[in-house]
């Protein structure tokens, strides 16, 4: 090869460019254009056979990407709480002749990923899949995972190809919210696979904005855009979505800094300064989340409203938020202030003297209480240090606090069984998913939801809340119902129903190359708008 000085200028330039290219290629990892790689906090890939597991992340990353429900969640805005909107049903209304019968009008021209058309037969088939043990499509796992949303469901009938009627067990004005949690899967695909659900898990078919591409069990799920998605505004802008379960926060942070992923859920608060200094985007938003102590209203100190108020006055919520590096909102009520039925609840300001005075008046000083807490869990935030802080605050105000510490699975058993099995407990610490008003403010007080049949763990009952719940269920005017929900929320706050502590803001960390993400005020998020800058 001749000396470089003997080469022409063009040749020298080409050589230099080649050399620089080699250096660049060797120095940094190469990224495929437009691939969004997400590190989830989930310990495993959520199941792809319909209703997902792995909590809200299951719906967020798999359920609502592969599938639609009759009613979807509006995730397009960050400035107001997410609510329901038409999905595979364009509209719905109550049957004027029967308030326990809902008529759903189905969207025309929708196809599943496998090319089969969507019709009323698919709705009937799907609801039978979740409820009717005599049907070949019945799948126990899906029956279990969908139970929370089928409690009011009675039956379904096809009226015509584009119309179904769904009956409820009682008059339930907010039943449509339940239908927003029921994905519709492809009957064609399930029948083609002869209801082999293991095979279906590796070849799922829905109507959602993403199609299945590839899965390595326990390791990664790859989805690609569905170019024929019926909502043209939500055809994904990336080439590929890769989902990786990564339960360890330090690992997620390292993977983002290293470039292996470009979107991570829930970075540890103390890693956020490091992420920011590396140029990562930190996004947060209020969302319908609550971190509370659910209380025992049948036995023990919290049967007395003065003790419940005392506990709430004992909490220094500003300190809790500081513990979390500022990534939380002080919680003074059952739901965060952004929700439309927040109203004007009683605000229990930090006042340990007042707290002590209330305990003295109630004849409970010192006031011995025992709570169950977990070591981790979905939405539990930094559960151990937060509980330690709350314990010290309660004890400063005159409580004597004992914690029974257990793992998440064991705490779920306590939560589900409730009273009378755990009658000796004063309460337990839990994060609450408040995605819809029923879950947020109705179930904690409804008599029909008394544990173990429901999530009214401590057996709350009061004539006023009974009256309001009954009125809400029977009120089909949205504006009037909102006023009733607001009244119920304010009543629950006035009663100091729980020990209110904080609301999460769900921090996420994104690579600077990720563009277009709008963090909705929801447990679910829309990833379709995201594009990856070169």
């Amino acid at each position: 090869m001749p000396p470089i000085t003997a080469l022409s200028t063009a040749s020298r330039g080409a050589l230099a460019g080649l050399a620089l290219g080699c250096i660049a290629a060797g120095a940094s990892p190469t990224h495929a254009a437009g691939v969004l790689t997400v590190a989830m906090t989930a310990g495993d890939i959520p199941v792809t056979t319909g209703n997902p597991d792995q909590g809200a992340e299951g719906f967020r990353f798999v359920g609502w990407n592969l599938y639609d429900a009759l009613i979807n969640w509006d995730l397009s805005r960050s400035d107001k709480p997410s609510d329901i909107k038409p999905g595979l049903a364009t509209s719905w209304e109550i049957d004027p002749a029967n308030p326990k019968r809902w008529i759903f009008h189905l969207r025309d021209g929708v196809k599943f990923h496998d090319g089969c058309g969507f019709s009323a037969d698919d709705v009937v088939w799907n609801l039978d899949r979740l409820n009717d043990r005599t049907k070949p499509q019945y799948f126990t796992q899906q029956f279990a995972l969908s139970r929370a949303y089928m409690t009011l469901y009675e039956g379904v009938e096809k009226i015509d190809d584009r119309t179904v009627a769904i009956s409820t067990k009682v008059v339930a004005s907010m039943f449509p919210y339940d239908m927003a949690y029921v994905p519709m899967i492809s009957r064609c695909r399930a029948e083609a696979l002869k209801y082999d659900w293991n095979a279906y898990a590796f070849a799922p078919s829905g109507t959602g904005p993403y199609r299945y591409a590839n899965m390595v069990a326990h390791e990664r799920l790859e989805l690609v855009p569905n170019p024929e998605y019926w909502d043209k505004t939500r055809i994904p802008k990336q080439d590929r979505l890769v989902l990786l379960p990564m339960p360890e926060a330090a690992t997620r942070t390292a993977a983002l800094l290293n470039g292996q992923v470009n979107f991570i859920e829930a970075p540890a608060p103390d890693s956020i300064p490091r992420l920011k200094s590396a140029g990562m985007q930190i996004v947060t938003n209020t969302y319908p989340h609550d971190w509370v102590y659910s209380l025992n209203y049948e036995k023990g100190p919290f049967t007395d409203i003065r003790v419940r108020k005392a506990a709430n006055h004992a909490i220094n919520r500003a300190d809790v938020v500081e513990l979390l590096g500022g990534y939380a909102i002080e919680g003074y009520a059952m739901v965060p202030p952004a929700l439309p039925y927040y109203g004007k609840p009683v605000r229990y300001e930090y006042d340990p003297k007042k707290s002590r005075a209330l305990l003295k008046e109630a004849g409970c000083l010192p006031c011995k209480v025992t709570f169950v807490i977990s070591t981790s869990g979905s939405g539990q935030m930094q559960v151990l240090p937060m509980n330690e802080l709350v314990k010290s605050q309660l004890e400063e105000a005159g409580f004597e606090v004992t914690f029974n510490v257990m793992d998440w699975n064991s705490l779920l058993e306590v939560s589900r069984s409730g009273l009378p099995k755990y009658i000796e407990l004063s309460g337990y610490n839990i994060s609450r998913l408040l995605q819809d008003p029923i879950t947020a403010v109705v179930k904690p007080v409804g008599r029909t939801y008394w544990s173990p049949a429901g999530s009214n763990w401590g057996h709350w009952q009061h004539p006023e809340s009974d009256r309001l719940v009954n009125a809400i269920f029977n009120e089909f005017d949205a504006e009037k119902r909102m006023k009733l929900l607001t009244q119920l929320h304010e009543f629950e706050s006035e009663q100091a129903m729980m020990i209110f502590v904080t609301h999460d803001v769900n921090p996420r960390a994104l690579s600077p190359k990720v563009s277009g993400f709008i963090q909705a005020q929801s447990w679910y998020q829309d990833l379709t708008r995201i594009s990856i800058l070169p």
Binding site: D44, T140, V216, A254, N258, G259, N409, A453, S455
Partner: protein, 318 residues
């Protein structure tokens, strides 16, 4: 030789049975419920009863165990509660991924641990001995998941020369050890996993070498004029059997997969699988994984015993 193998295989049966009974009992004694992860918070009593019946959890525990055992004897380990996939597929796949780590971690830890321990044992009481012993104690004492995180910070985040997590850019299904882009995913978890066995093997070797050096035959060899290096060769050979036994146990420990290390590196091995199964009370996966791991332990110790017999003629004569 064949007698040893046959006897060990026969011993494996009551071991397998005992391990299964203990594991089954412990899981049921622990609080929590295998259906917690799939049942909703407000499932009615009828719903819970129906699901419990369909999953077979309403039968008496001894009946559940015997049914499970009868299926296992036919090669059917059942299906995972969480994923509904066959347990055998889940466990064997995870074991293969852990084997990938172990097949590097064991020789590395043996070579380094044995060498360090031999040096320390041959020069007892010297600065070299103290340095090696101190390092071995540190290796055993430092939490390996913490070391793993530190290694990730240094090599993945700051220097960006190695990946932080996973088994290959496309996952285990596409992993090719012969491709550098995949093989580099092994480096940090192997180093992290090897740390504890290095310390244990170094200390065991040091103790064995020091003991053998004090035996009469070494004095005799020296009196007969044998060179020091030749004596050391004899000493090391005689110190090998107990070290091999320790290595066999370490192999079993590594095949169990360090739950913490595999979680830090999101390595899809048996440790990661076990940790999820414990958290979710996924009893079929727990039973299947622990049974297979117990058999791996038995097989590993059999191999070690055979190696010991091959090295030590006294064992062969016995």
């Amino acid at each position: 030789m064949f007698g040893i193998i046959f006897r060990r295989l026969v011993y494996a049966i009551p071991i397998a049975l005992g391990v299964s009974v203990v594991c089954f009992s412990l899981v049921y004694l622990a609080p929590g419920d295998p259906l917690q992860t799939i049942l909703p918070a407000d499932a009615s009593a009828e719903t819970i009863a129906q699901i419990r019946h369909e999953y077979g959890f309403d039968r008496p525990i001894p009946v559940q165990f015997l049914l499970w055992l009868s299926h296992v004897l036919q090669g059917d380990f059942g299906v995972s509660i969480a994923t509904r996939r066959p347990v055998a597929d889940e466990v064997l796949g995870a074991l293969a991924n852990t084997m990938m780590l172990t097949s590097f971690a064991i020789p590395i830890s043996f070579l380094i641990g044995y060498t360090l321990g031999a040096i320390a044992g041959c020069f007892p009481g010297t600065t070299l001995d103290r340095v090696v012993t101190g390092s071995a104690v540190m290796g055993v004492s430092l939490p390996n998941y913490w070391v793993g995180i530190v290694l990730v910070i240094i090599f993945s985040v700051e220097l960006m020369v190695l990946p932080a997590t996973g088994m290959g850019p496309k996952g285990s299904a596409a992993f090719n050890i012969l491709v550098w882009g995949d093989a580099k995913f092994l480096i940090l978890p192997v180093i992290t996993l090897a740390m504890v066995p290095v310390g244990i093997l170094a200390r065991s070797t040091r103790a064995a070498v020091a003991e053998v050096r004090g035996l009469d035959f070494v004095t005799t060899l020296r009196a007969k004029g044998l060179g020091e290096w030749a004596i050391i060769r004899h000493v090391l050979k005689n110190a090998m059997p107990p070290v091999l036994a320790v290595m066999g146990l370490q192999f079993g420990y590594l095949m169990g997969g360090s739950i913490l290390v595999e979680t830090v590196f999101t390595w899809p091995g048996s440790g990661f699988l076990l940790s999820k199964a414990i958290i979710n009370r996924d009893i079929p996966v727990l039973q299947g994984a622990i049974l297979l791991l117990a058999m791996v332990f038995v097989a590993a110790n059999l191999v070690v015993d055979l190696l010991q017999a091959a090295i030590d003629p006294r064992i062969r004569r016995a």
